[in-house]
């Protein structure tokens, strides 16, 4: 079976600095792959290359077997790669629906000629999408600042789900959250997996990684230090891979 996402011999250098060196990995549908590694190991460079922020210096990225090259995050998004940032890319003063549709707002006509924002559609889509994530909201018009950190993370994920992301990239999705909220995000990731999407997530938290991922890819100084199935590895082994030795 062709994997959803395949990264082949990817390298990226910034001037003389080799941030990523000849990295090969893949993500299958319904699979959660964790990226681990110490600071500066190249995790962020890798996801930025996949999400279209950086152009790789060499190597290729394949989506469903087809080679792709993104010149902007927008292009990656159009191909179904959605990135969820650590610092929550939400506009706090807007409703869930408005956030889901931010930048792609649906319009309708009032009185048959006046184009207006289709708030009904936005609210309806938001409600359905959030229900898909088992997150039930009554106040569809309330700004997202009224919701908790985990709920807001769910909104960010909901946006990706609504736009039919096949691959979700999450950079430290649990970092800014309290423990109960972290568990909710982990459970959201389980749902994405059950829906057959591919998930790549960066985390420093081994507990999270072991709770949710199928495989773990450990990077060290821009190279692959090891790749393990979660079922076949232990915390100790992963830590050893991360720090070397």
């Amino acid at each position: 079976m062709t994997p959803l996402l395949e990264v082949r011999n990817l390298s990226k250098n910034f001037g003389p600095v080799q941030a990523l060196n000849d990295l090969t990995m893949h993500v299958a549908a319904g699979e959660v792959v964790a990226l681990a590694g110490d600071n500066g190991a190249g995790k962020t460079t890798l996801i930025k290359a996949i999400s279209g922020v950086y152009r790789p210096s060499s190597g290729s990225i394949r989506l469903g077997g087809e080679e792709v090259s993104f010149s902007s995050p927008q292009e990656a998004r159009e191909r179904g790669i959605e990135t969820i940032y650590q610092d929550l890319a939400l506009a706090d003063n807007l409703s869930i629906g408005a956030n889901i549709f931010l930048g792609r707002e649906p319009m309708t006509k009032r009185f048959g000629f006046l184009p207006v924002l289709d708030r009904k559609k936005m609210a309806q889509a938001a409600k359905e999408t959030m229900a898909l994530l088992d997150f039930h909201v009554n106040r569809m018009e309330a700004p997202v600042s009224n919701f908790s950190g985990g709920q807001r993370q769910a909104v960010a994920i909901g946006r990706a789900v609504y736009w039919n992301a096949r691959i979700l990239i999450m950079d430290e999705p649990t970092a800014a959250l309290g423990v109960p909220e972290q568990r909710k995000v982990i459970s959201l990731i389980h749902q994405l997996k059950a829906q057959g999407r591919g998930v790549v997530f960066i985390s420093h938290n081994l507990q999270d990684i072991f709770a949710v991922s199928d495989r773990i890819v450990v990077l060290r100084r821009g190279v692959m230090a090891g790749e393990r199935r979660i079922a076949d590895t232990t915390h100790d082994e992963v830590v050893k891979l991360m720090i070397g030795g």
Binding site: Q74, R77, A89, L133, H136, R139
Partner: protein
Amino acid sequence: MTTEAPGQAGGHISPPADHAEKSRTVVQRIADLRAWLFLAALIIGFEVWSRVSFGGSFIVNPYNITSIAIFAVAPLLLATGQTFVIISGGIDLSMGFIMGLAAVVAAHVINWATPTMGMPMAVLFGGSVAILVAMIPGCVNGLLVSRLNVPPFIGTLGMFGVARGVAFLLANGTTVPVQNSFFSALGNGRILGIPWIIIVTAIFVLVMHYLLSQTRFGQHNYAIGANAQAARRAGIDIRSHLLRLYILSGICAGLAGVLYAARFSAGAAQAGEPLLLDSVAAVVIGGASLFGGSGTILGTVAGAFVIAVIQYGLVFINVEPFWQFISVGVVIIISVLIDQAQRRISGGRQSE
């Protein structure tokens, strides 16, 4: 927090259900409507005073209503543009002198065109040219803020000086009278008892309300004010948005300038000088936050009327005019205090 199943890996935990607190929404409603409440309180206050001391009505008096509305026209037009800019997280300090510049340009062009074009066409032509000219400083503001990352406060402060200088140079340091009776008829004429300039302003403000509340442009404006990075990541072209935004602000000031010239049959460079801070005050009283991300045109309308009612009402009840400054100042402070109290009560995260 809701009760949770033990956090077994793989066991699904549903996010907490949504608890809408009724009291919270009531407080928010009141805070959203505070400008209208202020306005109602002021009108009742002046009404009582007027009945007690003169035995006449303050508000049930078409003359007073029209005068207040005419009073509010220029500050309101500046304030509508300012509302957009403040919601985006910026401020436009140059609006006052852009208005003056537009008034002077309108006066000159109408005078120049009247002999060749005839009166009505000259007015149309002069008004259009003035608004087009007002778009130039707006465009420069927009380029400074969007391309060169100049903070709006500084960029528009620079433009404040430039527009002021150009306006006074064009006016030769004096007031430019307009020789066009059609223009002054428009500026002071009425239809069905309602002055033309009020009708023009009302239509313009309605269009702006539509633009802010019902279009993508307005929606993106709110998003940029709350979280510019999120807006950029969502694919919104912030640069072109900001450019259009400051041009829009220039258009508002330009229209205010043209209506000023029509009303007084003259263009004056200093026409908008005292109005700039009134426009910011109207926006703030109307419920916008200077940090960006909140505010409405309807709130700004109420804010502009609060100021106009205070100014006109105090004259009406024969109080020394200096009390205007004090009362407007107090209203601004109370308005901001209500805003902060509401934020504290509603527990909304403030954007960092």
